[in-house]
Every structure is written in C-alpha cells, then in structure tokens.
C-alpha cells in the first residue's frame, strides 16, 4: 500500500508549485490513473480523503479516471489494448511491444476558487 506516499507527494507538488500562496483555494484535483500504474484508485482516493483536506480546501474533491493499458507492436506497428497483462501483439504475435498508455499517474488539472478581493483600507 504505497498510495499514501503518492498522495503526500502529489499534495506537496500542488502546494509548492500550483497554489503556494493559498493552497486552501484548491477545490478539486483531477487525476488520470493508468491501469498499469501500480496504483489502486480506491486506496488512492481514501488516502486523498484523509490527507488532502488538511492542506487544500477542507471540502476538496478528487476526480479520477482510469486509463486502459495500450501498447504498440515494434514489429508491425499495430496499436492494441493489452489484455490480461500479456504483452504480445494480437496481430502478428510479436512480444517486443512498447507501452503507449496505461502506466501514468497524471495530474490533469486543479480547480481553484477565485481569489478573494483584497480588502483595502477605507480612506477616511
């Protein structure tokens, strides 16, 4: 179960690079989770629910979608969906294939609330 560590790394990146001034503005985070990323989405979601509200908005939401595992055959250049983790080209039977999708853990976007208008001192 390494999803907690991944979520901690994700939150660190969001705070450091996306919303350093006010991470509490982050209302939603969207991820793409590859089928072969070595990440269990439900475990990731529960780690997010536990950790994210302590640094981002208390109501922060995680949206995620899974990305199917796809590969490209190095012999016949056929792209195919990898089934049962058998990395074999269904068209020509070659086993040298390159994964083209499904290994990623991608931070797609974040949703921020608009900055609150700065309260300026009324001139007397």
């Amino acid at each position: 179960m390494h999803e907690r560590s991944l979520v901690a790394g994700l939150l660190d990146q969001i705070v450091r690079e996306i919303a350093p001034r006010d991470p509490r503005r982050v209302q939603a985070v969207t991820l793409e989770i590859g089928e072969f990323a070595g990440v269990e989405p439900l475990l990731l979601a529960s780690a997010f629910e536990e950790l994210a509200p302590t640094v981002l908005s208390p109501e922060v939401r995680l949206d995620w979608r899974t990305v199917p595992l796809r590969a490209c055959c190095e012999s016949c250049v056929q792209e195919f969906s990898v089934s049962q983790f058998r990395f074999v080209c269904p068209a020509c039977g070659a086993s040298r294939v390159r994964v083209v999708a499904g290994e990623e853990l991608l931070l797609v976007s974040v949703e921020l609330t608009a900055t609150e208008p700065r309260i300026t001192k009324a001139i007397a």
Partner: protein, 228 residues
C-alpha cells in the same frame, strides 16, 4: 466562482528524475546498482550472501537492506559485505530518500556493486525507481509457478529473474518451463537464472552475468564523465 487550471503533469516525474540523478551518480563511480525484489522469504538475503561469498577477495559489493522492522538481514550479511539496514517503520517498500540516506552512510571508494534489498513484497516496490541499473526479481519454487502473470508489474519492470530454491524442485509440483514462458509473456527481455542460494547451485552463472552487465556500464563513457 472557480477556475480550472490545466496541469497535465506526471505525478511521479520528480521522483523519476531524482532516481535518474542517483543512477548517474553511481554510474560515474563505476558502480552497478541492483534492486532485488521478491515476496517475503524468497531468499534475497541468502542469495546476496551467496553472491558475496562467491566474490570474496575479487569483486567488491555493498548492500542496503530494507525491512519494516529489525536489523536481522544486516546482521546476517555483515560478515560478508559492508551493509546498512534501512528500516521503513511499516512502509511496504523502499523509497529513494531512505536509500540515499543509507548510501551516504555506506559510501566508500572502490565499490563495484551496490545491492538494494527491497522489503519483501511483489507489489509496491515495482512502482519505485531507486536509481538501480538492474531490477532483479527473485521467485522461489515454493511460491508456485503461476506468479509472473499474477504480479505482472514486478516482472514487467525487472531485467533479471532468479528462480531460487531449486534444491527443492524434486519435492514440488513446479515447472520452471511454465514460469519462464509466463514471465516472457510479461517481459520478453527478462534474463532468467536458476539458483539454489543454499547450495550455491547457479550462483556462479548469475555472478558472471552481473559482472558482464557492469562491464557494459563501464563501456558507456558518457555515464562515467558525470561528476560524482
């Protein structure tokens, strides 16, 4: 009112870059780094002990050994190689910062190999690049011959597979051919070795392979030019 900011960034990119930098640092010192992964009890420590014994007085290696608790593995290996125990305190896999702390403590001149013995677990360690040049997955024959397809990421991301405890083969319904076939459907480039770390059978072949892999690394001058 909210605005959506598009990021499109790989969450693990920073970790991968850090692992790549560590790998180059080791390459520049002429060190080949091997990350050993397996389920608990497959024989990683005994295999390392057998490798170290085979290399005594000839090849210099050091070990960073990871466990959730205790320094038992480090104690076992200490008579043979410089070793540091990495204790994760509950985490089921090693991550780079812990490995680097151990390396800072263990680092010495003249090393040719650095072995990282991961926490026994065929799942999570597969997702963490520790800066190794080779990932070596150990599968012991008592675990059954259906494992590569069941733990595809461990086998897909490995370069070498060692089928260990072959001294027990006469007593078990285990087909080495089935494992090799299954493993090659997941990763066709996987180099396969059969060993009994206990009796030493097959360890010489594995050692020769590792030495040859290090020679290949040394033949890549670009990697050796980087300042350590």
């Amino acid at each position: 009112m909210t605005t959506t900011v598009s990021i499109q960034r790989d969450v693990q990119a920073e970790r991968r870059a850090a692992a790549e930098a560590f790998r180059r640092q080791l390459s520049a010192r002429g060190i080949l780094c091997v990350n050993l992964i397996s389920s608990p009890g497959a024989g990683k420590t005994t295999l390392l002990q057998a490798i170290a014994q085979a290399w005594t007085g000839r090849v210099s290696a050091a070990v960073l050994t990871g466990d959730i608790a205790t320094d038992r593995d480090a104690q076992r290996l200490a008579p043979y190689v410089p070793v540091r125990q990495l204790t994760t305190g509950g985490t089921c896999h090693l991550e780079l910062p812990l490995v680097q702390r151990g390396w800072d403590d263990l680092m010495q001149d003249g090393l040719q190999f650095l072995f990282i013995e991961n926490v026994g677990n065929l799942v999570c360690p597969s997702s963490h690049d520790l800066g190794e040049h080779l990932r070596l997955v150990v599968l012991s024959v008592t675990e059954g011959d259906d494992k590569p397809g069941k733990y595809p990421k461990a086998f897909r991301t490995s370069h070498v597979c060692v089928i260990n405890k072959t001294d027990l083969l006469p007593y078990l319904p285990f087909s080495t051919e089935a494992v090799i076939q299954d493993a090659h459907l997941v990763q066709p480039d996987l180099a396969m070795f059969l060993t009994s770390a206990l009796t030493g059978a097959g360890v010489g072949e594995l050692c020769a392979y590792l030495e040859q892999q290090r020679r290949q690394l040394l033949d890549q001058p670009a990697l050796l030019q980087d300042a350590p």
